[in-house]
Symmetry: C2
């Protein structure tokens, strides 16, 4: 079934108000959850809403907590999320990084004690919409194998890099695991194998079977040793810059919360806009003219397919899983 995006947003708003969120915050959260589904990132939009709702009820997410600045050194700031909603805290911190960058050229805000930011791309689009380059990442609970080991003790620590562009922003939104659990779950339901190994089986061997990886919870890093190394340094940077928790420490909690995040904004207004756009468009043209691997294939720039999905979902409504929709209606 497909439901108009504004209808979805309205229902989510009602549910958030019932949970005790104040109006402005409930509006922002309902819009962001809706937009993730609108852009086709269903796993961190509507499909995640029931768990978010539960986390509020359980007391992991404090509805009306406000993030606050706890320390700073010129254009670097540390903020404490005070366990407020992850979307709200992350949006506030990217705004603050842009505010700093507006004057200083580049600004950095590190955030501790926050909750899951849902779709990382949200904060990349936010920066790009405002004309800034945005770079941000979060740590997570342990959910990915450290290469060379059988243990899933690293986070998949999603990294977002966004570049503003007149004809459509370039937004990379990428977890460090080769496949997301969301993607593996979808393939499992459809009884399909992964194209490449995506995790370890019960004996610690690589497997393409998503059902087995959902059992072992041992996703492997993208590029094996490379994604593993990148995950480690992103966790270190997030934890030390925010004076917050690192992945192993988050793993000792009963729920994935008290996360650490970093938001960097870079001012682009000083760049000659014509040269900037010409450079980006040349890079994109080059990608688009690549000889396809298989007939009918195409090569896309990061974020390109999002815009196609957004257009389609704005026109025809957002595809919604009936069970999840009913769950939300009954919250």
């Amino acid at each position: 079934m497909r439901i108009p995006h504004l209808k979805i947003q309205e229902i989510l708003l009602q549910k958030l108000l019932l949970l005790g969120f104040r109006e402005a915050k409930a509006e922002m959260l309902s819009k962001t959850f809706m937009e993730s589904s609108l852009d086709g990132v269903y796993s961190h939009g509507l499909n995640r809403f029931p768990r978010f709702h539960k986390n509020v009820k359980q007391g992991y997410v404090h509805p009306n907590a406000e993030p606050e600045k706890i320390s700073s050194s010129a254009n670097l700031e540390q903020w404490d999320g005070n366990l407020g909603p992850g979307i709200y805290n992350a949006t506030r911190c990217m705004s603050r990084a842009m505010e700093i960058a507006g004057d200083a050229g580049i600004g950095c805000v590190a955030l501790s004690n926050t909750n899951h930011w849902m779709r990382g791309g949200t904060y990349g689009w936010q920066a790009a919409e405002n004309g800034f380059i945005g770079i941000c990442w979060t740590n997570t609970a342990p959910n990915m194998v450290a290469w060379g080991s059988k243990s899933a003790l690293l986070g998949n620590n999603p990294l977002v890099i966004a570049i503003p562009r007149e004809e459509g922003h370039v937004v990379l939104d990428m977890a460090m695991s080769q496949y997301s659990y969301g993607r593996m779950h979808t393939l499992e339901i459809n009884n399909k194998m992964l194209e490449f190994p995506g995790g370890l089986d019960h004996s610690g061997h690589l497997t393409r079977d998503p059902a087995i990886i959902m059992e072992t919870e041992k996703a492997i890093p993208m590029g094996f040793w490379k994604g593993s190394a990148l995950s480690i340094v992103l966790d270190m940077l997030a934890a030390i810059l925010s004076s917050g928790k690192a992945t192993h420490s988050i793993g000792m909690e009963s729920e994935e919360y008290r996360l650490s995040q970093v938001f960097i904004a870079i001012h682009t207004q000083w760049l000659d806009p014509k040269l900037r756009d010409a450079t980006i468009n040349d890079i994109i043209r080059n990608i688009h003219t690549a000889e396809p691997a298989k007939e009918g294939d195409r090569t896309y720039y990061p974020g390109e397919r999002i815009l196609l999905t957004r257009k389609e979902n704005l026109k025809s409504g957002i595809p919604v899983n009936k069970d999840i929709w009913n769950t939300i209606l009954n919250l």
Copy 2:
């Protein structure tokens, strides 16, 4: 054969002086080339010196050119490398980024018209030795497949992230391709297959045969679509922030030069040093206690093995390929 590190540095210094480098610059370059080999990165140390020498003679590298600031917006600066030696330009720009970050918390220098920086890790170690977090990357000539295509039209665009630490810095130095051509060449010589697919064969299929990939020059990105996307955004950022050339444009030149690079430094002195080190050490301890995939395996943090190699090579001399050494002596 093994040669003492200072002997190597002395020979390189002589050759650089003969090439027309002034003394201070020749000393810096010879030291950096030596240190890359000392740390075990032979492909970008001694083994690369003959090509660097040739590039100077061909006029691609201008020995005594100086980089200059061409534009700035507060703590963001654009520098033109004026085709000076890549090592010199990159070291100068990381220094400048640290200078900015010392006052501003975070500083960013983007560099155009530079030459190959050799080993990217050099500038990560440089930042960490000075107590800064260093993040830098370069674009390259096209040498890696764009995922979804048969064409090697992306750069492998190495990314470096360094974090200072009392007991040994954490330094990630990582190209976007699954394997470097240097690594594949070594395996080819030893008649070995890659553990995982590393490139495309002549029909555009994935292959583990390094000899074939050396022929097609079609290395694949780490994590397939993921490394491809990361390469694209790193190229865009380097080219637009420096107002320099992007990978496709570098590919139109007769040699890999006129590269674009970005250097970001973040001040860490404002962080409580005890908390900072405790957090990093906890993350490392967690990695070290991971259950190994195979008996006898270990899990390392990025940069850890460099320190072991450095210690060994300082003690026993740097392992040197006899042919390459003779080539250098005869330059």
